[in-house]
Symmetry: C2
Subunit: 221 residues, 2 copies
């Protein structure tokens, strides 16, 4: 079994993050690499979704994952064990990644994938404040968290282009209003795209894979 | 129906938070008020647990709640509608509360309760970095989030005296290892107390209420 590579990244307080993000986005465009910045609460199922997504994308796109966490390498190891190209980024206690920290990870994992997913630190507040240079921000909201989250975490939903509602298989056990979550999310960002999926049953995973393939093609052409 | 009071608090960058926290703790001791700093991921069920707790404590302790959120007043309104004394604190975009922001909330809600609960911003990273002046830090981990959270969010579990595992009624639908979560949490803090509850079925709520009554009595005597 391969052991996961752990990268310790550092934040520079002197740099202009917006400028760094624009530089990185430009470079990604030239390298024909689509960077997906995946954000959510802790425990919403980011890694499990990525496992299902990697399976659905097999043979269609070359995908790699950068797992960002304050500590541990459990998620990157899980992906690696399942055959998904991945590295672990440690943020040195930081609650988010900025564009230069993201670049440090990309230099390690390389630019030869069509799709690189940055699994940001589990946090609905701080990651939304920093442009990572990503081609797209995708937010996960799991059914057990409740449909009111777009009301409480405005910036996360304003900066997110694609919202994926996960764990829809447990909908019968929770008071989750699917209509309301769409209404609240669109209030924050009228252009937001919304998909409902379950990584457990596989429902909606192919739709998500197809949507990402379309976006990656647009980016790399 | 009463409308909830919303307090906009501001962080001062010039103040010494540790000193403020010690001052506040000393004052709370003199006022015979126990301040519980409640932290968790977004959507772990803090407000629902507080509703169940308020019911269990009725007639035994005078309890009030300060709800902190970046936006919205849904939680404070829910509590107020259920007859629980509560105010809403808005953090102006901040991902956590510090001791002086907590003091501003306390000045509004007053010091005449035995137990004041500060429902911190839903976030497993930043709130752990700031001493609010609380008598006790309590962290909620809900079953759907998974048992690996103490591995990924070390500081939250190191600074937490009481860990409450919530939503145990949905245990059959998730791969949650109760033994492992205890092992991982104790690795972060060997002195941590751990309770398992369900606000939905009521399981464990009386144990939590009894434990808090005991701690409040110790504080106020």
């Amino acid at each position: 079994m391969d052991e996961v590579k752990i990268i310790e990244v550092k934040q520079s307080v002197f740099e202009d993050n917006s400028k760094n993000a624009e530089f990185l986005r430009e470079r990604l465009k030239q390298e024909k690499t689509f960077l997906l910045n995946l954000m959510s609460s802790p425990g919403s199922g980011k890694t499990t979704l990525l496992l299902a997504l990697a399976k659905a994308l097999k043979g269609k796109l070359k995908m790699a994952v950068m797992e960002a966490d304050i500590d541990s390498a459990v998620d990157a190891q899980t992906l690696l064990d399942a055959g998904v190209d991945s590295i672990q980024i440690h943020t040195g206690g930081m609650c988010h990644l900025d564009a230069d920290m993201t670049r440090q990870g990309l230099e390690k994992i390389g630019f030869d994938s069509d799709l690189v997913v940055l699994e940001n630190v589990g946090n609905l507040v701080c990651p939304a404040e920093f442009d990572t240079g990503a081609s797209l921000n995708m937010t996960i909201l799991s059914v057990p968290e409740g449909h009111d989250k777009p009301l409480k975490y405005p910036l996360m939903y304003e900066t997110c282009g694609l919202l994926v509602i996960t764990k829809i298989d447990v909908m019968p056990y929770f008071d989750f209003d699917a209509k309301k979550v769409v209404e609240y999310a669109k209030k924050r960002n009228p252009e937001i795209e919304i998909l409902f999926v379950s990584a457990k049953t596989g429902e909606g995973i192919d739709n998500l894979a197809d949507l990402l393939i379309e976006k990656v093609k647009k980016w790399t052409n």
